[in-house]
Subunit: 143 residues, 4 copies
């Protein structure tokens, strides 16, 4: 699948549409096959014990699926999350960034489906996996 929007442009676009989470996420890599994003570890996402919370991992998976989808359909398009299933499998390493590896499995006219694996930076085993469906409405209105 060809990219409509390159990585640097995508990062600027994210800051523009989600100013409230500016600086929280970074794009490590983006090409036709895969996307690697990073959740910068900081106090706000922590649970007692210092590990990244479930909701913060959900946010990362959601943003990664959004970026992967938008980079293929273009910034002018609209895409809204309609479904997510997520499995939390291991406790993230305290203090480490969480890295998302995202792959678009389907890009249809009305729906995209993206698989995301989440890792504590530097660890071989995933801490979580998620699959997200984005609805791509034909025009600027609700699904």
């Amino acid at each position: 699948m060809t990219l409509e929007v390159p990585a640097e442009e995508m990062e600027a676009f994210l800051d523009e549409v989600f100013p409230q989470v500016k600086g929280m996420f970074g794009i490590d890599h983006l090409d036709e096959d895969r996307l690697v994003m990073r959740l910068h570890s900081n106090e706000q996402h922590l649970r007692p014990g210092g590990t990244v919370s479930g909701p913060a991992m959900f946010s990362l998976a959601d943003v990664a699926a959004y970026v992967a989808t938008m980079s293929r359909i273009g910034k002018e398009a609209l895409a809204v999350t309609t479904n997510c299933s997520i499995d939390f499998m291991r406790k993230p390493v305290a203090g480490a960034d969480v890295i998302a590896h995202a792959k678009v499995l389907k890009l249809g006219r009305a729906l995209s489906v993206t698989d995301v694996l989440l890792y504590s930076d530097g660890q071989p085993e995933p801490v979580a996996r998620a699959t997200l469906t984005y609805s791509i409405p034909p025009a600027r209105d609700a699904v």
Copy 2:
């Protein structure tokens, strides 16, 4: 299912274990059959356009399933989210609190399964639904 922990005690317990989200959630109602929780709408959870974000709705569903489970197994127990499936169905009303109605469908020795419906305060149609599985480890160690 009998409650081990009443609502007021549960609210204090939440502030204690999740100090970073203190004041974000409230317990409207908790009895043997159902739990009603509230996400206080504020700037931090907003997307452009002023509606509550997907991750904030996920957080509410996750906390509601946690509270519903812990109120039945007791505060000394441990419970960690292992799975969530969530469907986002309607755009939340801007500026309105989001209300979670949670029901424990199964409370086993090793797992609980909780259904959660989310509403914009005062609206009849749900904005989202989620099902969460919590693992209840026998002792203080990883799943």
Copy 3:
């Protein structure tokens, strides 16, 4: 939500479009609010020990969501399953029919979302729960 297709007509329609499972499912009740369907227990759906298999319960949930959706959008429409999350919570009672209680949570122009609870006939606690998304394409082509 108003019904486009009444129960008897829906049952005949099922036999027509899915002749290979004729007689496997029955519609106990169908009105604007809810649908009750039945999986007739028989040898083919059994696992060792005599209980209804997971795939048979999935089939029942899938058919129930299909019937609930089609009864609202009309038999001429097209609807295909795009997502299902299902939790198996208790072992079904051997020899008992499985009963599905289905409720359409959202009926949009492009998607329907239906919640289904499954019970062993006569038992108070659900054996499984499922949520299914059906895509409703605008015309007779793939999603």
Copy 4:
């Protein structure tokens, strides 16, 4: 992860525990990293139009996750499906076998999580994806 049970032994074991689906599934490949299984296409799994049905694809994903898990924990163990999320993404090719590629993402003491991608034999794009959680009870009793 080391295999406790090799492929040939696993196939015989399947016929033994699920005699009602004997001949329906085959194991193409099984090693420490991945499992490839096959659903033999036949009349019974067809929808109108000749493609493999959703429930048949669910069955294949479920059996693949079971085989992948059992091959690692041993045939004497017990494992029951507790959760599945599945996305149907493309219409399977009529008359073609469906091939499952399964990977165990987590094998804990109490739970396994397995990712499965399903393909029409010979096609590059997946027709479906699924993630399944199996509960591994400590002894021969229910979860």
